[in-house]
Symmetry: none
Subunit: 223 residues, 2 copies
């Protein structure tokens, strides 16, 4: 488990880094926001602990940039201020948790564990899977039965939506709304066409992506 600590206060940083290493984590330390951003974008961390008050690039902006760069690492903010306002700003910027200084190390360790657990349990973060089909929202890679498949944007979005609703039928109206952003019925067969093309690529014999007449489609994972 790799953890990144972005903290400028040397005492706190060393206290946190040592403690986490004793817990068995591989820990990297960045003393300022720019270094933190560089490390976070170049390495796959399981969690980042980010101080809000930082030289050069503050913690909130750092995380905003991470999210803009599609980096899904769970972030725990550290802050001297405990105001609800700050907390909200942090969470809105894309943070996952918030801890106020001073804090007990055991508290920090517990939250880091929780973040990692949550991230591992929610494939929602980046990777969707159903049976032998996988789809990575970040790298946009799709595999089916082990081999890579290249999808067009619409096909990709459609498959992602289907994978989020595995085992339950999705209506054409739902698809038009969430894959096409139409709030009305365009009176055409766009959906049918893209479904047809998607099938040709990942399900030629219609065993995964079944049609439910009069209702819509349903994605069933291949045993």
């Amino acid at each position: 488990m790799r953890v990144l600590v972005v903290e400028d206060d040397a005492k706190i940083a060393s206290f946190v880094v040592k403690g986490l290493r004793q817990e068995g984590f591989a820990v990297d330390h960045a003393p300022d926001g720019d270094t933190g951003l560089a490390l976070a974008t170049s390495t796959a961390y399981d969690t980042a602990i980010v101080d809000i008050m930082l030289p050069q690039l503050d913690g909130i902006s750092l995380v905003k940039r991470l999210r803009a760069a599609r980096c899904p690492v769970p972030v725990l903010f550290l802050s001297a201020k405990s105001s609800v306002d700050d907390r909200i700003k942090g969470l809105q910027a894309g943070g996952d948790d918030y801890l106020t200084k001073p804090f007990a190390f055991s508290e920090l360790a517990a939250r880091v564990q929780a973040l990692i657990r949550r991230a591992n349990q929610s494939p929602e973060a980046t990777r969707l899977t159903a049976g032998d089909v996988t789809l990575d929202l970040v790298t946009r890679e799709v595999t089916c039965a082990g081999r890579a498949v290249s999808l067009q944007p619409r096909e990709f979005t459609l498959l992602a939506f289907l994978l989020r609703h595995v085992g339950r039928p999705v209506s054409k109206t739902m698809l038009l709304e969430h894959v096409w952003d139409y709030s009305f019925d365009p009176q055409t067969n766009v959906v049918d066409v893209v479904v047809s093309r998607l099938r040709a690529k990942i399900d030629p014999d219609h065993t995964r992506l079944e049609t439910v007449r009069g209702v819509g489609y349903i994605f069933r994972p291949h045993a």
Copy 2:
């Protein structure tokens, strides 16, 4: 278990927050609607306790916005008024429960527990069962005596209606109205035909779906 308390009255808020913490909940507090909305949309709470009378953004509007943002957190409303009207408004806005001030803390704790329990087991809401026949309205799966049965749309709607009226006879007129959306008698035997097909699939020996001559049909669960 994380709980959000949105309450502007400091005394009540502290009373509730302390009590819930003693019960082992992780509690966050928002003193007004805007703050509550921000917290609720950025953190995954297991329950939200929301006062109706709030500064800035009132409780009802708050919950409406939450629902519009597809935030499914169970909501318990608090209110000084106990009128049926208010209660209805609350539930219509997407609330799950309603408590009138003043209330005993034990009462509140019990309801919060109930809400969390209900939310965790909720998928049952979409499933109709009678004897050895089950029907899932969401996945559209139907089983009879353990094995899966595939139904056509009309048959599915018909069975769903029958399961909602288990043990009491339903007339053909009722069926035409609720399964076919006819408000008149089409002078044909559509109902008979579809009933016949349904029987062939889930009740070949007429022991579950009996006919009541001159009246209609009645579904009796298999012991």
